[in-house]
Symmetry: C2
Subunit: 372 residues, 2 copies
C-alpha cells in the first residue's frame, strides 16, 4: 500500500513520490507540524493552501491531551482535525527526552512524568505503536532512545543498541498494512555509529527511514556531514526523513545529501514571533522600520499575509493582534511549500545546484561543497 517512486536524481538530490493510501507525497517535501492536532494558528484549509501534502502529529502530546483514546472516539486524527491527506506521527521518544525531566529508560520502557499534570506514564515500543494506531496516522515512527549529546561513547552505544532493539519490537507490533512504519537512525555525530545503525536498520522491512538525533544544537556543518554519512547507507528505494529540521538553508543542504522529507516548527513558531522568511533572508516585522512600508513581505507570494503591507503586519504585532501570528504562520509555511516545489522542479530540470546556490546566496550563505 506504500511505495516510493524515485523519479530523478541530480547529484545526490532526489525527486520522488511517496505513494500512500491517502494520497501522494511529492518529495522533497516539508511537513507542517500539527502538535496536538492543529497546525498552530491556521485552519486546515489554510494549511493545505501552503502546498503541504502530509502533516505531522505528536504522539506524546496527543497521548496526554486529549488522549489517544479520545482521538479514536472522535474518529481518529484525520477526521478530528479535518485533514484528508496523509499524516505522520512521531513516536514520543524525542519528547520523553526533551520534556520529561523525570524520565527513566530501561530495556522495557521509557518512563516519564506528564509535563501537564505530573502523572507517570510508561512508554514501551508496543505502547507507542498502540497510540499511533489509535491516532490512525498513515506513517508511524519507531520509538527510539534519545540521549543528550555529547555523551560517553558507552552511553551512546548503549542507546543506539537499544534503539535498534526497540525498532524491531515496533516492527513486530505494527501489524496494520494501511499504516507504514519508519525506522530512525541514531548515532550522534559519529560516522561509524551512524553507518552501523543505518546498515542494521536497512536489513529490516521498514517503509521508510528517518535520520534522528540532529537539530539538537550541533553546528550546521556537523548536521550536514552526519546526514551525508547516514543516507549513503540507506536503501535508495525508500523515503528518507530528516526529523525536526530546519531552516530553509538546512532543507537545501540536506536535500543535496539525499533527504526527501522534513518537518519543523520553525515556520510557525517564527511566524508567531513576527519573523518572516524571504529570498533575501528573514525579516523581523516588529521593527519600527516597517511602520509605513506599503510593500508586502514578498512580491508575487500567494499567501494571505502578502495581500497586506508590511506596515499593517507590523501594526498587528505591535497591537498584539492574533491576526499577525496567523498571517505570518501562513506566509512562512507558504514560503517553505514554495521552496520545496521550486526545488522539485529544479531537480527535474537538472539544475538543482545552480538553484540551491542562488537561494543560499540570497539568504547570505556561501553554498557548501555539495551544492557549490
Amino acid at each position: 500500500m506504500f511505495r516510493f517512486d524515485l523519479q530523478h536524481e541530480s547529484n545526490g538530490a532526489r525527486r520522488g513520490v511517496f505513494r500512500t493510501p491517502r494520497g501522494d507525497v511529492q518529495t522533497p517535501g516539508f511537513m507542517p507540524v500539527g502538535t496536538v492536532g492543529t497546525v498552530k494558528g491556521l485552519t486546515i484549509d489554510q494549511v493545505a493552501a501552503t502546498g503541504a501534502d502530509m502533516i505531522l502529529g505528536n504522539t506524546y502530546h496527543l497521548r496526554l491531551r486529549p488522549g489517544h483514546e479520545t482521538v479514536a472516539r472522535l474518529g481518529g486524527l484525520h477526521k478530528m482535525c479535518g485533514w484528508d491527506g496523509p499524516i505522520l506521527t512521531d513516536s514520543g521518544g524525542f519528547q520523553v527526552f526533551s520534556l520529561g525531566a523525570l524520565n527513566k529508560v530501561t530495556e522495557q520502557a521509557a518512563t516519564f512524568r506528564s509535563h501537564l499534570d505530573g502523572s507517570k506514564i510508561e512508554l514501551t515500543p508496543e505502547h507507542s505503536i498502540e497510540i499511533q494506531q489509535a491516532l490512525g496516522s498513515d506513517v508511524a515512527m519507531v520509538l527510539d532512545h534519545v540521549i543528550a549529546l555529547p555523551a560517553e561513547q558507552a552511553v551512546v552505544e548503549d542507546a543506539l543498541a537499544r534503539s535498534i532493539r526497540w525498532a524491531k519490537r515496533c516492527r513486530d507490533a505494527a501489524d496494520r498494512p494501511e499504516q507504514a512504519l519508519f525506522a530512525i537512525v541514531q548515532g550522534g555525530l559519529d560516522p561509524e555509529l551512524r553507518r552501523q545503525c543505518a546498515t542494521e536498520l536497512a536489513t529490516m522491512p521498514f517503509e521508510g527511514f528517518a535520520v534522528g538525533g540532529l537539530s539538537v544544537g550541533e553546528a550546521p556543518e556537523e548536521m550536514y556531514a552526519t546526514t551525508a554519512v547516514t543516507t549513503v547507507h540507506l536503501p535508495v528505494d525508500k523515503p528518507r526523513y530528516l526529523m525536526g529540521v530546519g531552516t530553509p538553508r538546512d532543507l537545501l543542504e540536506n536535500i543535496a545529501r539525499g533527504i526527501d522529507l522534513f518537518d519543523c516548527v520553525m515556520p510557525t513558531r517564527n511566524g508567531r514571533n513576527a519573523l518572516a522568511f524571504t529570498d533575501d533572508g528573514p525579516i523581523k516585522l516588529r521593527n519600527a522600520v516597517h511602520r509605513e512600508d506599503t510593500r508586502p513581505i514578498m512580491e508575487d507570494c500567494p499567501c494571505l499575509a502578502c495581500r497586506h503591507s508590511r506596515g499593517y503586519l507590523r501594526h498587528l504585532f505591535n497591537a498584539n493582534e492574533m491576526l499577525g501570528p496567523i498571517l505570518l504562520s501562513h506566509h512562512n509555511l507558504t514560503y517553505y511549500g514554495n521552496l520545496m516545489r521550486q526545488t522539485r522542479q529544479a531537480i527535474e530540470e537538472d539544475r538543482f545546484h545552480a538553484f540551491a546556490a542562488g537561494k543560499l546566496r540570497g539568504w547570505g550563505y556561501e553554498p557548501m561543497d555539495a551544492v557549490a
Copy 2:
C-alpha cells in the same frame, strides 16, 4: 452618494438596503467589529464569508495605534486591512468615556490620556472628523458626550445639549461627499430627553441616525423601551443604528422596534472565550461534557468550526490552541450573519413576528410584546 431604500415593513421591523459608494448594506444587518483594523482572530476573507456587508473600525484605538496618519500613509483603512466593502468608524466618544480614566470634557473638546502610554490627547468634534477622514471610512459618526448613568438630571441635560452642539460642529467639519455622517441620539433612559434629542438631530442633514448610550448595564427591557421611544422620532428614510448591541435576543427585539444596523464585540469576544451561539442558546465548549461529542456545534452551519466535532473544539480550548478562538469567532459571526439573513427574509415574507418568537423561545426567552 448614499441612499436608504426601505423595501418592506412588518409591524415595526424594517427590511432595507443602505446604498454606499463601496456597495450595498442589507438591513437589518450586523457589523463585525474590527477594533484596530482587524476583526480579532479572522482573516478578512473569513469575515466576508460570515455574510457581513459592512465592518466597524474604532477611531480612538486607531488614533493611538498605529495612528490615523500612518493608516492614511498605508492607503487608508480599506486598503490596510483588505476590506473592499463599506466601513463605519465610530467617533471615539464612547472610548474616551469608558477607557479614559483621566478624561475631562469642556465645550471645546474631550481631553484624555492614552490608555497605552499616558500621553494627553484632545479630541474635538473637528479632530474626530479629521481622524475619520484620514482613516477613509465610508460612514463617520459624530463625536458625542457620553456620561455614566445614572446621573443627575442637570448633568444628563448638559451632556445632551453638548452632544447636539458637537453634532452640528461635526456636520460642518464633515465635507466629503463620499463619507456619510451619522448623528447619535443620547438621553439615557428618559423618554422625553430621547424625544428631544432625536427630534432636534432629525432636523439636520445626516445620512443616518444612531441610538447611543445603551448596552451600558441597563436591563434588556429598559433598552428595548428606550429604542422604541427613540426610533419613533427618527426619519423613516434614513438607516438607524443601535450602537454596541448585542445578544441575538437584543438584535431581534430591537429590530422589532425599528433598528436597521448593529455592531457588537459579543460574537468574537465570546468566541475567544469558548462560548458558541446556537438556536438552542449558548454552548460553553470548555465543559467536559463535550470531550467525546462527535457532533458539530450546529448541524447545517456553513462556518469553519462546524466542520469539526464539539470534542475537537473542546480539546483546542483545553490545550490553549489559537485555532479554538479562531473557529468559534467564525462560528459566532456566521451565526449572527445568518440570523440577520433569516430575519430579512422573514420580514420580506411578512412572518417576522412568528420567526422572532420561534428564535426567542429556542434561546429560552419569552418574546416581548413587540414580537409576541
